[in-house]
Amino acid sequence: MTLLGRGVAGIAAAVRSKEASAREVLAESLAAIEQLEGELHCFHTVMAERAEAAAAALDEKVARGEDPGLLAGVPVALKDNMCTKGTVTTCSSRILENWVPPYDATVVTRLRAAGAVVVGKTNLDEFAMGSSTENSAFGPTRNPWDTARVPGGSSGGSAAAVAAGMVPLAYGSDTGGSIRQPASLCGVVGVKPTYGLVSRYGLVAFASSLDQIGPFTLSVADSALGLEAVAGHDPADSTSIDRPATSYAGLLEEGVEGLRVGLIEDFVSEVSPSCAEAARAAAEALGAAGAKVEEVSIPEVLHGLPAYYVIAPAEASSNLARYDGVRYGLRVGGPDVAAMNARTRGAGFGKEVRRRVMVGTYALSAGYYDAYYGQAQRVRTLVVEAFARAYERFDVLVAPMTPSEAFRLGEKTANPLDMYVSDVCAVPSNLAGHPAVSVPFALGAEGLPVGVQVLAPALGEGLMYRAAAVLEQAAPPAARGPVRPGGERRA
């Protein structure tokens, strides 16, 4: 077995015990990237030299007998919207093509402190706006299960890199499903934590009230470690929850005996037969493991999608105003400041970003604010209240993750609304600020992985992981990565 094949916990244990060096582990990761990157295009930047220096420093730390950290020697990939000091951070946008942040995101600082080795920055839809990674200014990422298909998005590069075994752990950001949807399409575990559990400091904002960073891994246990390493209060993020970090690893064996599980039927009827069947089978599997399972209707969740597609663009229109050509990034000159602003933004932003900035600007405009932004916020409140009622009866909820298996490149680019529907099962958790995970659970009618979603109330990550671990046990191993490009199993 390769070192990477041991997963996050296995690698950290091997490096800590000096059975393997961080440099050996890194060499495997860099070799896999070298071999597969041409076909998949997961990365914008591979930081081989910096990573080698970090791995060497970690090995010295181990040699000195110091604690190398929770993620000792684990190669990690970061979505290219997390600031890395001294390394270009593009957000897949021409407007930030050459921008080098002078500071590290809190997540990056924490990962380095935990002994992780950052190997590179992964592809995404521009400014995380999209569900296929096709909205990248630097070309799409391909799904390792079938390179004619998308990996999902917006964190497609991170999802595909884990699915293809390039790295055992990668991070994405989830504003309306951008971790969970690609996790489902790539056959990996993807978690959107409770809003405020992981610091957003240094995450380039898309929609501030919805954005949350989370891990991609091949297993639930690795996910728990990946989340633990970055979670916890950060005084630099005012929306960070002031609560000590928790370890989830010890909870995974606890099972679901006696837990009350609700299957959200409103989503089941919205998705393809394969995806619906996977969700029903998952509910049954939890029942077989001792949970009390019931179907539940929460009709408000279906209003989440239109509310999301008002709130997220509204916040984005403000968050992206700063890319004006004055201080950093692309500048296209003009006869006056206004012309420079307009030309820079016209040239620097792709079509989908421009569309959302315009939608969001409109939604906040005088005379339209109440009908759009105000109304969307009222719907958001209804979704929150509906979840609150559901969680009086249930400990966790189960739902399909995506409406379909991975679709073909170009299949949905012509009509943005088709693309937006990919997020229908995902966005309610963002609106409510609740945690949710996508667990690979089945192979669909097209032979591609299908994920199932477990939703929990705020700070219910422990319960969420317990249910996810049971589902992982019940799922066929063939439904999850790693796979070679084309779907061939990796050793």
Binding site: S208, S209, D324, L364
Partner: protein, 476 residues
């Protein structure tokens, strides 16, 4: 005010808070640093950066609110969206419909009250300098931007349209400045831009109930320009209305040199600021402990302090004395005067030196040792130092501290020995015999000339009073 019209003025005063750090980051809040040195990812609005509210700024804002008799309420920060190069994020974090302080008032010296609608917290922008061409943002060759000021905490104090004359507007700003300085939340320096005033001016036919259309006047950098601008604007609007015209709601720029206002941009084509709640911050709910701490930190209010100071120096009948009192109150120099008098200084002299000379270096003067100040005033009262010399010693004392007598010696102001004065007079008499004869013959016009010659020969070290006495004595 032009005949037949009533004037209605509301003032918006932006006050920089004198916190050690900025509103949302740990950068120094300092005036006069090298451009773009007090900056970080947060106040430069770099991608991924997030604001963290400065609790000290909140406390200062509450001090101001409570000193203006406002109600302190839970508040929500909003984003005010518009593109401007000196605003790093292209939105300003401010408070909108739920500000921290609401519904207060300020009582002026004449007992009239001006309502305070709100006093809210917001961040300042950077500072642009437009070079070449027009020298304004449109038509300049290029622009330089200093972001040191970006993110500096401000409180914007919005008055009700209760002000009815330019003089009252001046009085309001003067008293407000005194209140702000008294709270310890601001240094109140208009000349450095830490206090910035915009005036909303309208006129209406005398006695009419309905308000006229208002214009907002910007670029009022001193009390003098505030008064001139309001008077000019009132006259302009009155003339316009009298001639059957209509006042357009617009923002106008005060041109100090030309003494006129001219339109900046029209409100009809104004920005849509697209306010919405700032998702990067949580609602600001000041707890009772913070409000109590803020209230406890507020010093004695100007009205009470004015009473105390007047009791000391007397009412007087010259407007000069009242002005000195107000300056001392405004700049919080009254405590210095009180302490100096307690240490033996002559009250009116202490007030005069504080309000006229120390005021130029108010910040240093507030830290001045009252004993040293009293000692200096004693030297002046005794005639050991001339008024001019005393002022020079005071300047050094404020800048460097030390003992006044020692500073006087260092500056060469040591009073000349009687013999030295006499020998200088001898020299002057010998060199100016004709003038001396005329002086002896009783020509008083030449006395000043002789005195000047002696002062010149002593290189300013002689005390004028003593020389004059010596000359008179010699004439017999």
């Amino acid at each position: 005010m032009p005949e037949g019209f009533d004037l209605v003025v509301g003032l918006e005063v932006h006050c920089e808070l004198s916190t050690a750090t900025k509103l949302f980051c740990a950068c120094p809040n300092a005036f006069g640093s090298e451009p773009n040195t007090n900056v970080c990812p947060v106040c430069l609005g770099l991608p991924g950066s997030l604001p963290v509210l400065n609790e000290r700024a909140v406390e200062f804002a509450i001090r101001i609110g409570r000193a203006l008799n406002c109600e302190v309420r839970p508040a929500v920060f909003h984003r005010k969206n518009y593109f401007y190069p000196d605003m790093p994020k292209d939105y300003q974090i401010t408070q909108y419909d739920e500000p921290t302080n609401v519904d207060g008032f300020l009582e002026l010296r004449d007992g009239s009250r001006v309502g305070i609608v709100r006093a809210h917290i917001e961040e300042d922008t950077g500072k642009s300098t437009h070079l070449g061409g027009s020298g304004r943002i449109h038509g300049a060759d290029h622009s330089l931007i200093d972001y040191n000021r970006a993110g500096v905490p401000l409180v914007e104090i919005v008055s009700a349209p209760d002000i009815t004359s330019a003089a009252q507007a001046r009085e309001y700003v003067s008293e407000l400045r005194a209140v702000l300085v008294a709270t310890g939340a601001s240094d109140g320096r208009m000349e450095e831009g830490s206090l910035r005033v915009d005036a909303n001016v309208s006129v209406r036919p005398a006695g009419a109930a309905e308000l006229g259309t208002r214009c907002e006047i910007k670029n009022l950098n001193s009390l003098r320009s505030l008064v001139r601008a309001i008077e000019h604007e009132a006259a302009r609007q009155a003339a316009l209305v009298s001639a059957g015209g209509v006042v357009r709601q617009e923002t106008r720029h005060w041109d100090e040199e030309a003494g006129v206002t001219h339109p900046l941009r029209s409100k009809e084509e104004a920005y849509d600021y697209r306010y919405f709640p700032e998702p990067d911050l949580v609602p600001l709910v000041p707890d009772a402990e913070l409000i109590e701490r803020a209230e406890a930190a507020i010093g004695l209010m100007p009205a009470a302090r004015r009473e105390r100071l007047v009791a000391l120096v007397g009412e007087g009948d010259s407007p000069g004395l009242a002005d000195q009192v107000q300056t001392a109150i405004e700049l919080s120099l009254d405590q210095l005067v009180l302490d100096a008098v307690a240490a033996g200084a002559e009250p009116r002299l202490a007030l005069a030196r504080a309000a006229n000379e120390a005021a130029a270096k108010a910040e240093g003067a507030r830290a001045l040792s009252a004993t040293a100040f009293a000692e200096l005033l004693g030297l002046e009262s005794a005639g050991t130092l001339s008024a001019t010399q005393s002022k020079q010693v005071l300047a050094v004392l404020i800048d460097e501290g030390g003992a006044p007598a020692e500073i006087a010696r260092r500056l060469g102001f040591e009073a000349l020995e009687g013999g030295e004065v006499e020998s200088i007079i001898d020299e002057v008499v010998a060199a100016n015999t004709a003038e001396w004869e005329r002086y002896l013959a009783g020509d008083e016009k030449v006395a000043g000339f002789l005195l000047g010659q002696v002062m010149k020969a002593s290189k300013g070290r002689a005390n004028g009073k003593i020389v004059a006495a010596a000359l008179a004595k010699r004439r017999g």
